[in-house]
């Protein structure tokens, strides 16, 4: 179960209850921020696809947890 991060009492302890994956789900990597000095390389495209897939996976696993 996801702790209530908005509760005024004990917010600190609520955050520490989160797993690393849940924190990642709150602030997932932005796929559009990958860049290469050589332009739109295959590596950049693959990284973006990987980040998008990870973001979708986390959204499915922890719906509503992402901080917008």
């Amino acid at each position: 179960m996801t702790p209530d991060l908005n509760s005024k009492s004990g917010t600190d302890s609520a955050l520490t209850q989160l797993t690393a994956e849940q924190i990642e789900a709150m602030f997932p990597a932005d796929p559009d921020l990958f860049h290469s000095p050589e332009g739109e390389t295959r590596e950049v495209r693959e990284l973006r696809a990987q980040a998008r897939a990870r973001r979708e996976e986390l959204d499915r696993k922890y719906p509503g947890l992402r901080v917008s």
Partner: protein
């Protein structure tokens, strides 16, 4: 559902430490990748020298050594292929996150860099394996040419 609040800096006290570790790791990956590329360049050069020195010969062992040197050169060139070049687009980061809470941006960038590092680590491993193969092939080539030379002298 109430929107989730971004945590404050006090709630993530070790964030700075984690960021500096990632920074160091990032530099280390690039240094190691450059080191591997330099070694691959040396192997490529050495393979070229072996091929040129052996020249055209009818000796089967020398030809085998030459073939191994060519293979070593090809493997060395293959080492350079997985590049470690992707980074965080600072301009896009500014455009998208300038008005976001600092902790939000830092945690998002942290996750972004972890993704990058996981990939860089895999690429570094691939480069290391290829370099090892190139080194073994070059060594094999040198040994065969040496044996070929000894046999020719004895015979």
């Amino acid at each position: 559902m109430q929107p989730i609040r971004t945590p404050s800096e006090e709630q993530v006290p070790s964030l700075g430490v984690i960021e500096s570790v990632l920074e160091r790791e990032d530099d280390s990956y690039r240094d190691r990748a450059n080191g591997i590329d330099s070694k691959a360049g040396m192997i490529l050069g050495a393979a070229g020298v072996i091929v040129a020195l052996v020249g055209t010969t009818t000796s089967v062992t020398a030809l085998l050594g030459q073939a191994l040197a060519i293979a070593a050169g090809a493997a060395a060139a293959w080492v350079i292929v997985p590049r470690i070049e992707a980074a965080v687009a600072s301009r896009d980061l500014r455009d998208r996150y300038l008005d976001a809470a600092a902790v939000h941006t830092r945690l998002m960038v942290l996750n972004l860099r972890i993704l990058l590092q996981t990939r860089n680590e895999a690429r570094l491993l691939t480069k290391t394996r290829r370099l090892r193969s190139a080194s073994v092939l070059l060594l094999g080539s040198a040994v065969i040419i040496l044996v070929s030379g000894i046999l020719r002298t004895v015979g």
